[in-house]
Symmetry: C2
């Protein structure tokens, strides 16, 4: 069995990446769209160094094999600048992920950021998705349900606004992880509130609409264990019933999946108790939101494999969580 971690971000990228981003943001004041040629070249050694003591070290220490790897989520910041800003930043980040995957093809496979921008039609992200999948060998994308960064000005994910992008996802047979970025609304701490709220919000949007009737093969991963959803699984089953919606198993669970980015044993235990095994994909969000060691256990909070290892899970279910479900949700993994 291969241990596939479906949720990793390149949070440790070489400083030259942030330098380009800083220059891009500084240029916005003067109305300058920094061209891609302004990127400082990043050497292979810099990339290796950025990973060897972080993701790769942790993969080895924790016994995981392959990370489905995407640009740093909090840095996507689709609300910064305009469509061109977002496109150039997105291409830069995706190209770097491609280089990571080229250097370590056994350890990483790419998932792309999309060039979303507030008020810009999601259809405009289809070309970059296609480039990443067909030319760079990526297997999925991160879709931001709130490109405004905490103001929630876009239509819900079930609105036809998003359909052209979904058509491209279906055509390419790739899933999206629903993943917001940083928040420019002071109410929402990014990793402590905005991320989790977006997960919960997306699930409820899916529950109340017929999106998967229109796209029976469209697939979403809701990260961070599905936000609040498993903890409130009774509430969601009850709301579906009150709203005369079909049972969740029928209406959502062929299309919606949850990762295991829940950073304590009781949470993982609950996740496995209420969500069908077929819908759970191993993920750690490593190196990510929480970087410390839990004083109660002596282990990293985000070493989610430990929690799974501590539970009496039958071998066939372990296979599903660690590999099988990921292969089903990301069929392009097979092409590697």
């Amino acid at each position: 069995m291969k241990i596939i971690d479906c949720h990793g971000h390149y949070t440790t990228a070489p400083a030259a990446l942030q330098k380009f981003r800083d220059a891009q943001i500084a240029g916005l004041k003067d109305g300058i769209d920094l061209p891609l040629s302004a990127r400082t070249p990043i050497g292979d050694d810099q990339i290796r160094e950025s990973l060897e003591n972080a993701q790769l070290k942790l993969q080895r220490a924790r016994g995981t094999d392959l990370t489905i790897f995407s640009p740093r989520a909090s840095a996507m910041a689709h609300h910064v600048g305009n469509e061109t800003t977002s496109r150039r930043w997105t291409e830069t980040c995706n190209d770097l992920i491609h280089r990571v995957c080229g250097l370590y093809p056994d350890n990483f496979v790419g998932v792309c950021q999309l060039p979303q921008s507030p008020g810009v039609a999601p259809a405009q992200s289809a070309a970059e998705l296609e480039r990443c999948v067909l030319q760079l060998g990526f297997v999925g994308c991160n879709l931001n349900p709130d490109p405004s960064g905490g103001h929630w000005t876009s239509p819900p994910l079930t609105d036809r606004h998003w359909y052209p992008l979904y058509e491209k996802m279906v055509e390419l047979d790739v899933p999206a992880m629903v993943h917001v970025s940083s928040s420019c609304n002071p109410n929402f701490h990014a990793t402590g509130a905005h991320y989790i709220n977006a997960d919960t919000t997306a699930f409820m949007q899916f529950l109340t609409a017929d999106l998967f009737k229109d796209f029976p093969t469209l697939r979403f991963i809701i990260p961070h264990g599905g936000g609040a959803v498993p903890f409130h699984w009774g509430r969601y089953r009850g709301l579906a019933q009150d709203l005369k919606r079909p049972p969740l198993k029928e209406s959502l669970l062929k299309n919606v999946f949850f990762d295991t980015c829940v950073y304590h044993l009781p949470g993982i235990e609950l996740l496995l108790k209420v969500i069908p095994i077929e819908n759970i994909l191993f993920g750690s969000e490593m190196v990510g939101a929480v970087r410390g060691i839990d004083p109660e256990t002596g282990d990293y909070f985000d070493d989610t494999k430990r929690y799974l290892d501590a539970l009496p899970i039958p071998a066939e279910d372990r296979y599903k969580i660690f590999e099988g479900n990921a292969r089903r949700v990301y069929p392009r993994l097979a092409a590697r």
Copy 2:
């Protein structure tokens, strides 16, 4: 032992209440602020009837004694109209709760809605809080962290913006339940997303600031089991540590409490496993967000007492959850 349900709303109020509200909203178009004298009188019998076959019937059936009772949360809709609209609607709703408590003093004790309005200083809510506590005998209030109804335009709850209201809460020794109302943002389903998100958001706001250093006796109940917080308790402990904040037990748990409005056994089990017993107050949100019967158990989803009764909780802890903690958090209960 008395079973105190800390979270009940008057969702079944006589139709005359909604009639007043409809007229008030209709008047807004013509710039008319409907005066309180436009309220249709509601007879005691109408009030009795509205409760006998709902909250009172369920209290008896479930074996609960006293409900801490407030106006329907989704109808507060602070985003509708202006400050006067909100004040008149709030007074109307609070007065009706007062009548309920007068008719059934053994069954209900009041918690008030506040006359919040987007862009209006929370200080403006202090007078209504004082009226409700000192004149009507209420024991707490519901505080809406987002009077804009899903646009989140107010400062975080830890901002000094809110301090004048907190001073009044401390002076009166009453807690607030952090409770949003309906959402006018199509992204957020009210009871399935907006409520839960607000709970999670408020907790993270409290985690990142020193509010309780400034107000050591200020107390908040986060409803719906604390939103996503218990499910992600490891994440919050880890974030506090990464952010160099004190451990949650020290910084928050003298001031922040969770109700048990979680509608399935595994959720309640998790809540009790990770949150200290001292911080859990029995609540059911009855008659509220989910009204149906769970086909998996044959019981009402929101009969949260059943989940607690099914767990092996020591008698002293049961007392805390069902009565003791409520008496500590709502000290004015003793005056009844």
